[in-house]
Symmetry: C2
Amino acid sequence: MTPAPRSVTVALAQMAMGPDKGRNIEQAARAVGDAARRGAQVVCLPELFATPYFCQVEDPALFELAETVPGPTTEAMAAAARQHGVTVIAPVFEKRAAGIYHNSLVVLGPGGELLGQYRKMHIPDDPLFYEKYYFAPGDLGFVTVATPHAAVGPLICWDQWYPEAARLVALQGAQIICYPTAIGWHPKEKAEFGAAQLEAWRTIQRAHAIANGVFVVAVNRVGHEGPAPGLDFWGHSFVADPFGTVLAEAGEGVETLVVPLDLAKLEDVRHNWPFLRDRRIDAYGGLTSRFLGGPKR
Amino acid sequence: MTPAPRSVTVALAQMAMGPDKGRNIEQAARAVGDAARRGAQVVCLPELFATPYFCQVEDPALFELAETVPGPTTEAMAAAARQHGVTVIAPVFEKRAAGIYHNSLVVLGPGGELLGQYRKMHIPDDPLFYEKYYFAPGDLGFVTVATPHAAVGPLICWDQWYPEAARLVALQGAQIICYPTAIGWHPKEKAEFGAAQLEAWRTIQRAHAIANGVFVVAVNRVGHEGPAPGLDFWGHSFVADPFGTVLAEAGEGVETLVVPLDLAKLEDVRHNWPFLRDRRIDAYGGLTSRFLGGPKR
């Protein structure tokens, strides 16, 4: 039995997407190559990286952007993984059947092989984020993928607000939780609420790292997209260690972060702050309820 | 039907405890009166406020510090609540029977009446925090208490590291989660790890506010206690709003914070960031497992 690797280098490809799908995919392939040359072993791309964030409107014509898995986008990313010998976490707008579409991702190994697939479980629906129109909720459950470098729990964007999702992949053995993301500001809200929104987004994901003793990787897109008012995607992709400390954080432009992770830190933190030991699994049954009724008045 | 109050003023009585139980209780009663005069309606005291943090050693003689509920400590706090017309969240080292002790709290209404009781569910055990020796795990489950001012979900210290606990009281209708706490630095670790430990503690509790759209109140003790090396209790009691923004934070000395909370903010945040709507309750069954086996390799 070979000992598990003690470190892994991850890359966060923070991208700006244009209208041309082919060019977005080429850009992603170049980012994979660039990251590999800089030592990355696992490259994470942003949510729906092959297209603009089309969910700003509800338009049935946009279902044409979807693809099968495998399909052109996942094949292109498999080729990039194989060419550069890295693992790639590649989101895709998945056409499963006419009328059944998912916000998905695949995990592709360094030989280009499919290591795992995940379909976004928590689907948002908010002004300019009309995802419930496009995406059926995932039915693969939460998954953790054994890559050659580390056990990765891939989740997608809105999932990042749910402690349940992070906990479940951690209990499956994930050492790194990756969140491909497409989150941005409404331009009219940015001045008043922008800093608090970004801080809440960063805080809750750092907390998942703390609660579970795992590394957290969040990979967002950047740039203004959409018809006016549109959305300002805020970037700020980051990596947190298992105690929630931010190891690296991008700005608001195109940038690929390459960050080595010391997996021994995960064991060290879990020995010193043994939260997983003391969970009251006998008393958590209510978590599968929508609401528990409120207090008596 | 009277409309629910739209604001509530909470007090966080950050205290330093001495060896004399009577004086600690007097100090707490004075803090309740002081807070009430400053407009507080709900006063939260630190974990085990009647005594030094005795769990630094395992000594059977220290079980003598425990009391029944009701008992002298809860009666004194009920009198303070009644005298000043406020709700008091009063922790107590509870003797339930010989050999069955709990790290508990009572919620006392403005007439001094017992509104609710909670027994700490998650029990730590780490160097100088030997709580598993003293406290049987709580068997009342997670509780939310309807006070005249707001629905309060009381939890205790180590519970603050568990997203499950915060979620369960939020699902019960808690508007405010209160964490009486006794957390501090090991003096020898403080220079290297102290800032990261404090920040992790603040971050995970702010994240509970965000994930659940509730106010979070954490009330810690201060001062150095115990035989050398002892513990430096770090204070920094704070209140976070339902988007995780810190509204007020104490320093590292004795201090009572009095903070008005706008409960309308809770609805506003939940409307704009509707996390509770999208929980995948069909897929959370694994949360009642200790471990889910790790990935296949």
